[in-house]
């Protein structure tokens, strides 16, 4: 039997979170991700979970912090300006090593911008707008199936490393419906011996990001965190290559823009041009090595984003030593057109 159903991206995230064992979801409404809270408000009570509409994005991320510290798999979601408001919270969560999943269905910016899908929060997601040295894993699914699959993965990674995992989608991915095979429900959740459960019969637990005394206490903590980040960089990079093996020109993209790039690659191949697509799925850890290798082999890399050019920095940093890195972008909620990409690549020949 065909298990495929047609599901909206936002709802797929909601259902996948539940399949991942998430029973605590807190959020504040914002377009274009409103179907996540709407879905969760219906579904969570059915599975004995808690849906709570918070008074703000800041309250929502704080509630997630509480639930995570309590040992639960917890999630919040928002879109660009709402995620900006969560930056302090993300920094605290990271400092306190509390795992959680945060979804950003990006929209056009800066400021209120508009409500179309966009990719202008790459910097925000990968560099952090929170204070201090910390990192969050950033997953960038490219279709509804992946929104579901990587939501499950997000919870796994969060718990494994005790870090914040961002799912970086955009308004188009969140709003669109596509065929989807729902992933399997997660059977057992990892133990969290560090969680706050009451200090009965054991020493009290403290979860905090403050490291006051002695003077180098915080630095030691920073070094501990860095070790974890280094391990993540080593083990958790995910990317996908499409027709890159013999490619002269490679497009680098993620999410919605990568879909258009794939189309462009097909057109280019039909035109006899050896084009390929390098699709990033983890934006942090960034697939630097993969891009270096590629950079050594290809004539040019064209980074395509729905922004004025953000990820291109990282592509340059990794592949730029070896090959030229060009940029093509549409901003403010516009989707790059395959034809324009094709044109640009043709101009390289």
């Amino acid at each position: 039997m065909d298990k495929r159903i047609l599901m909206k991206g936002n709802e797929a995230i909601g259902e996948a979170a539940i399949l991942a064992g998430c029973r605590h979801y807190f959020a504040y409404p914002i377009t274009p991700q409103n179907e996540i809270p709407a879905y969760m408000s219906k579904r969570l009570p059915e599975v004995g979970g808690t849906f709570l509409q918070a008074e703000s994005e800041i309250a929502a991320v704080s509630m997630v912090m509480g639930a995570s510290a309590a040992g639960a798999r917890a999630m919040t979601s928002s879109s660009s300006p709402g995620i900006a408001l969560k930056q302090e919270g993300i920094s605290y969560l990271s400092g306190a090593q509390l795992p959680c999943v945060i979804v950003n269905m990006m929209r056009g910016g800066p400021g209120l911008g508009n409500i179309a899908g966009a990719q202008g929060d790459y910097y925000q997601a990968t560099r952090g707008g929170g204070n201090g040295d910390y990192r969050t894993i950033v997953l960038a699914p490219g279709n509804v199936q992946e929104l579901a699959d990587y939501t499950i993965k997000a919870f796994e990674l969060a718990d494994k490393y005790r870090v914040v995992v961002l799912i970086l989608g955009d308004g188009y991915l969140g709003q669109m419906s596509e065929p989807l095979v729902l992933p399997e429900a997660v059977k057992s959740l990892p133990p969290k011996p560090w969680a706050l459960t009451g200090a009965k019969d054991r020493a009290p637990h403290t979860i905090a990001s403050l490291r006051l005394y002695p003077d180098n206490y915080l630095e030691k903590h920073n070094i501990e965190l860095e070790k974890i980040y280094t391990e993540i960089k080593k083990k958790e990079v995910i990317s996908e290559s499409f027709m890159t093996d013999d490619a002269d020109f490679v497009l680098a993209a993620y999410g919605t823009s990568s879909r258009v790039c794939k189309k462009a690659v097909r057109i280019l191949r039909k035109n006899g041009i050896k084009a390929g697509l390098f699709r990033l799925i983890t934006l942090w850890p960034f697939p630097s090595e993969e891009l270096e290798v590629l950079g050594k082999r290809v004539k040019k890399i064209l980074t395509v984003e729905m922004s004025m050019g953000q990820m291109v920095d990282d592509v340059r940093m990794s592949a730029g030593k070896f090959t030229e890195v060009d940029f093509y972008g549409r901003a403010g909620g516009m989707i790059p057109e395959a034809e324009k990409i094709v044109e640009r690549v043709k101009s390289y020949v």
Partner: protein, 179 residues
């Protein structure tokens, strides 16, 4: 095969649902499909539309700038999408509510008395179904009548499924009309 279809109308006409049903039908036939509604502030003023792509290739962008096919259930919708259509495109319009003054000569117009058909089956809400019936008759590559009928049950929540018998009748009547 690659078709980009826009369904447009006012709030109560069920254009989002029509798009969903067509998408599910396409999906059941193994095609690549995507569906995306207009959303947010765009919805103010009571108009709604959705974009459906049905294709033999992976869907790149779900957003349609220049539709091949447009199903317009009221006048503002026709007015909005008529100029954007691809040359040679098909405009199915609800002749019950739209007094057509065609402004393009490079697209095909097809009238469907959607309200009339629906009302004949005692339904005020089946306008979208009538449009779907005509659409798959005219464009069989999108989905077969059978798939469409089967898709109904998947698209409509259990609570509302009681109307499906009527919906099927409407679809079938619309399908049976000579083009």
């Amino acid at each position: 095969m690659h078709n980009e279809i826009i369904f447009a109308g006012f709030g109560g006409q069920g254009v989002i649902l029509a798009g969903k049903i067509l998408s599910i039908a396409g999906m059941m036939e193994g095609k690549y499909v995507s569906h995306i509604p207009s959303y947010g502030a765009e919805m103010r003023g009571g108009t709604a539309n959705c974009s459906v792509v049905i294709s033999e290739e992976e869907v790149a962008s779900p957003v349609i700038d220049h539709p091949d096919i447009c199903v317009a259930l009221n006048s503002p919708s026709l007015a909005k999408f008529e100029p954007r259509m691809k040359k040679g495109g098909l405009m199915i319009y609800n002749s019950s509510l739209i007094n057509l003054k065609a402004s393009r000569n490079d697209i095909e117009y097809l009238a469907v008395d959607a309200n009339g058909i629906a009302e004949r089956h005692g339904s005020t809400r089946g306008v979208n179904m009538a449009a779907l019936g005509v659409l798959v008759k005219k464009m069989p590559q999108l989905a077969s009548l059978d798939s469409l009928v089967e898709a109904l049950d998947h698209a409509i929540s259990a609570r509302n499924r009681k109307h499906n018998a009527v919906n099927v009748e409407i679809i079938k009547e619309a399908y049976s009309l000579p083009l």
